[in-house]
Symmetry: C2
Subunit: 193 residues, 2 copies
DNA sequence: TCCTTCATTCAACGGATGTAGAACGGTTCA
DNA sequence: TGAACCGTTCTACATCCGTTGAATGAAGGA
């Protein structure tokens, strides 16, 4: 079909389609993270991607599906066995989330309070973390995991979205160091029940 | 002017006006807390208060001002001198916020990610808490106070708004107990810098 | 070259929202 | 009683939104 080893010509129609879709997804992610689901309009996404609003609908079908695609993210696994290992892995995830802004996650976070799907997405990431409760001893392992989850959400939210001055300006490692004893106190069952 | 010791007749026009305004404010608080600023419409508030939408405008001027009035709340002061006292007072505030749903605060919390004014309101409550940093020793007192603030926000948010199952169902006192060492580790400067 | 395909744009609709102003009807007071 | 007041409702406007379907024009294949 094609004599050369180039199955499709560069900059073909298919390629341009992919490029445009990526441009739309990127713009959508940025806007959803900055404004949340409701305040982000399809028209604004289209404008940011330098495209007509109808094209966004044509590719993604609805604002709902666009949001789902723009916020899709793989949650890092927590596989530690001991409470100390679990704590370190959670702190590692936190550290990474403090250093770089995880756009897709931030988009879900900012929308979780007003958009059910976003809340479900955040809930899933949280549930993934709760599964480590097998490694958190005590009858209240699940509750401990949930509290840690809430803490991580609160800190990331305070730094990137609410932008509490002290949190936004601080050195990520310093925050992690401050939180180490807190997280450790929750992953280790040091309470007699 | 009035021969009896009843300066204004009960159920007078003034009284009815006050009643209606309170009914509107109550409905607004509940809706803002449940749906956030954007998804709460003036028409919905009016319907919940069994009143016409125009009346809400007549009394509060704009949705903006209605929100400001509905979310006005006095933040409890933290006056402790020692790190331990500060920790206990913060835990007490948390406990109270876990037991009963602080409607006005929840309204501000749910809207903080999409509405600038709400974010400012939350920021103020946070700043009030940061002032305790005078009682938190160490060069990083401010940062420590901010981290505690973020933790409290995260936990209250997780319980009342995101409704993470484990947090929503748990006994408030149990959550407070779990967080005590975490908060203590942050109010006490136990790190050598 | 001609026809098909398809990425993209254009124009429009139906609905919802914040807000403004006129109108109504009971209350208050001289 | 009669007139002013005011709590309340009704109607309407301008805007913005998600979404749709037709139109356009360039690229790809026969």
């Amino acid at each position: 079909m094609n004599p050369m080893n180039e199955p499709t010509p560069r900059s073909s129609r298919a390629q341009q389609r992919i490029d445009t879709q990526e441009r739309i997804l990127s713009a959508a992610g940025r806007l959803f993270a900055a404004l949340g689901y409701d305040r982000t309009t399809i028209r604004a996404v289209a404008a940011a991607a330098e495209v007509d609003a109808g094209l966004v609908m044509h590719y993604f079908g609805s604002k709902e599906r666009l949001f789902a695609e723009a916020t899709r993210t793989e949650t890092p696994l927590v596989t530690g066995e001991t409470p100390e290992e679990v704590a370190e892995q959670l702190l590692g995830i936190l550290r990474q989330s403090l250093i770089e802004e995880p756009i897709a996650s931030l988009a879900a976070l900012r929308s979780m309070l007003t958009h059910p799907d976003a809340a479900a997405e955040v809930g899933n990431a949280h549930a993934e973390r709760v599964k480590v409760s097998k490694a958190i001893p005590g009858v209240d392992g699940n509750l401990r995991a949930a509290v840690v989850s809430a803490i991580l959400i609160g800190v990331v939210l305070g730094r990137h979205l609410v932008k509490l001055d002290e949190l936004a300006d601080a050195d990520p490692d310093e925050i992690v160091e401050l939180l180490r004893p807190a997280v450790l106190s929750l992953t280790k069952a040091d309470r007699t029940e």
